[in-house]
């Protein structure tokens, strides 16, 4: 792809503005959060053009935002944030993505690296056996259409009711693991049939489950509130989404939105930005179906977290309670939500699209669970397989500036094919082993696609959002074991 040559204005060391007059039809400017060095690599793809394209959408407020981890996506860039005014604004499935509510759940344990490292191979084997993963894998929970309807409406609670996890998990899940407004009648039979065999599966691609060890604590007081007390403590990170169910909902509604875009005479620079007014039937239907997929994803992560606890219990011969395994938080990375915000002194109800971005609400916000109300919402930022992950918290600055949003992860720099050509799957395994990371994957060859070289360095990404003030880094952890599809 050709390097992007458009006009960009430096606001400060971490903010870059694409002026509104860059392209006729932009309703607001674009704002990219990045260091100068990152911006160079962001320009390598046509990603800034996508940031400008999002600014065409009716009802967009403030800016078309991009986080430092942005990379090219369908319509919206991945790492894009856009808030649409409920009055006159639109909703776009491309602003959420195919993997609706792809997200991250983080559990802490009372174990340390010393406890876990000697048994890491056994533990990874057990997790791999217990958690279905990979292309074409079927889950071990059998659900019928009626049960699917309950998953779509109840989300994580459906899983807890079935004995997968605890009530307290729900309290520390974004939206309580259940987005309101879910209406199964707005979901196609196809999506339901695609989702039925896949509930309780990790999937393939960049989805994984990782055992991590705390490497650095930047703010011990805040970390303690999350139950992270010391360097060496073991954490469990789960990264997956709504599987084929969400993909089908997106596919179905992209088609609906194509027709809606024409019907409502919305002018767009890219077909994949297809959208409909929030107040229209098409817009409302999509949000109701998207909520079903978001809830499916929360149920999915709830099941997987339960099996992770079970696996630890089996290997260590103690109950999850005795092992101190408790959920820290669960965040969505791909979602559109109706939220109240104050922007430039104006109180607004907006539909915030976060595609490869994380909600980052500040201390004191009513939607932050009581136990974290003082520190702000935990933000979970996984890196790639071989490097590290971060826990951050939301800030008041994010709230006033980015509609309470921050980055979500590392962001690709190499295509999957290019990654495969530069390194072989077997080499990735060996490289990880040298670093002391045990990995088990359904497909060894696909591991090359997820090699560290394929991603931006998450440490730099987190540093950029920390310095920009739209979230605050609290803990850094590194992997010691990974399972992948």
């Amino acid at each position: 792809m050709a390097r992007w040559q458009g006009r960009i204005i430096k606001v400060d060391d971490y903010r870059w503005k694409i002026p509104q007059d860059y392209k006729e039809g932009m309703r607001v400017p674009g704002l990219i959060y990045a260091t100068e060095e990152m911006l160079e690599s962001i320009r390598e793809e046509q990603t800034p053009e996508q940031v400008a394209n999002v600014a065409f959408l009716p009802g967009i407020v403030g800016y078309s935002f991009a986080m430092p981890d942005i990379h090219w996506g369908y319509g919206f860039p991945i790492g894009g944030v856009a808030a649409m005014d409920i009055d006159g604004g639109v909703v776009s499935p491309g602003g959420v993505g195919y993997d609706i509510n792809c997200g991250v759940r983080l559990l802490r344990t009372g174990l340390t690296a010393e406890d876990v490292c000697p048994r890491i191979t056994q533990l990874i084997d057990e997790l791999f056996r217990n958690i279905p993963s990979g292309v074409g894998s079927e889950g071990k929970i059998k659900v019928d259409q009626k049960e699917m309807a309950r998953i779509m409406v109840e989300g994580a609670r459906w899983a807890v009711k079935r004995g997968f996890g605890y009530e307290e998990d729900i309290e520390v899940t974004e939206e309580g693991g259940c987005l309101t407004g879910a209406d199964p009648s707005k979901v196609s039979d196809k999506a339901i049939k695609r989702g039925m065999p896949q509930i309780g599966t990790l999937g393939s691609g960049n989805h994984f489950l990782e055992i991590e060890v705390v490497e650095e604590i930047f703010d011990p007081e805040v970390a303690r509130v999350m139950g992270i007390n010391e360097v060496g403590q073991v954490l469990i990170l789960i990264h997956t989404g709504s599987r084929g169910f969400g993909h089908q909902v997106c596919t179905d509604y992209l088609h609906v939105m194509e027709q809606a875009t024409a019907k409502y005479a919305i002018r767009l620079p890219d077909r994949q930005l297809a959208c409909a007014p929030l107040a229209s039937k098409e817009g409302r239907d999509y949000l109701a179906a998207m909520a079903c997929a978001a809830n499916y994803a929360w149920a999915n992560r709830q099941c997987i977290a339960h099996w992770a606890r079970e696996s630890f219990a089996k290997v260590f011969g103690k109950s999850p309670e005795q092992l101190g395994i408790r959920q820290i938080y669960d965040v969505a990375h791909n979602i559109a939500k109706t939220e109240e915000h104050t922007f430039n002194g104006r109180q607004l109800t907006v539909c915030v699209h976060r595609k490869g971005a994380t909600r980052a609400f500040p201390p004191g916000h009513k939607d932050v669970p009581q136990c974290y109300r003082k520190i702000g919402q935990p933000v979970l930022i996984p890196g790639d397989m071989g490097r590290c992950s971060f826990v951050a918290v939301g800030t008041a600055r994010a709230m006033s500036e980015t509609f309470g949003s921050t980055c979500h992860g590392a962001g690709r720099v190499l295509s999957r094919g290019a990654a495969k050509r530069s390194v072989r799957g077997r080499e990735v395994v060996e490289e990880l082993q040298r670093k002391g990371i045990v990995i088990k994957a359904e497909s060894i060859s696909s591991l090359a696609e997820e090699a560290s070289e394929a991603y931006k360095d998450v440490t730099e990404i987190v540093e950029a959002v920390h310095q920009a003030g739209i979230s605050r880094k609290i803990v850094k952890s590194k992997p010691i074991g990974v399972i992948k599809g």
Binding site: M1, E45, H71, W72, G73, Y74, G75, I78, Y98, D99, G134, V135, G136, S137, E138, K190, K193, R194, M196, P197, Q198, G203, S204, G205, G244, H247, Q248, C250, T251, L254, H255, E258, Q259, D270, R271, Q272, R412, S415, R416, G417, A418, E442, S443, S445, S446, G485
Partner: protein, 139 residues
Amino acid sequence: MRRAFEIFDHTADIGIIAYGADIKQVFSNAALALFSLITEPESVEQTLYRDFEISSEDRETLLVEWLNELIYLFDAEQLVFSRFDIKDLTENQLQATCYGEYFKPGKHKAKMGIKAATYHMLKLEKDNDGYKARIIFDI
């Protein structure tokens, strides 16, 4: 004779270019290319078949919907196909019969999870040697 299809990289995702002497063959080769991303079509025996009838607003959209139908069947029923008979193809309608079997881990290699065929950079065109289609998949 041109190859049936080619595969190319596209940032985080993957694309195919399918060729055909006529438009039906392009649709058939695009489906074959899709299953070559999911598994190895050579290993797929033709022990069962499915009939398809798809209609859409135009031919390009029809192509995307045809491929999305196949992606759906793989996820929902674990069906993999290796032969695609396009019986009838108009500007906005397709009739086809596909032959294949159920995906069996061990027998079939699991290569890539495909989320969807997208409209991005979608192209269906006629050139000197016949027809050519470009589709990018989200993976």
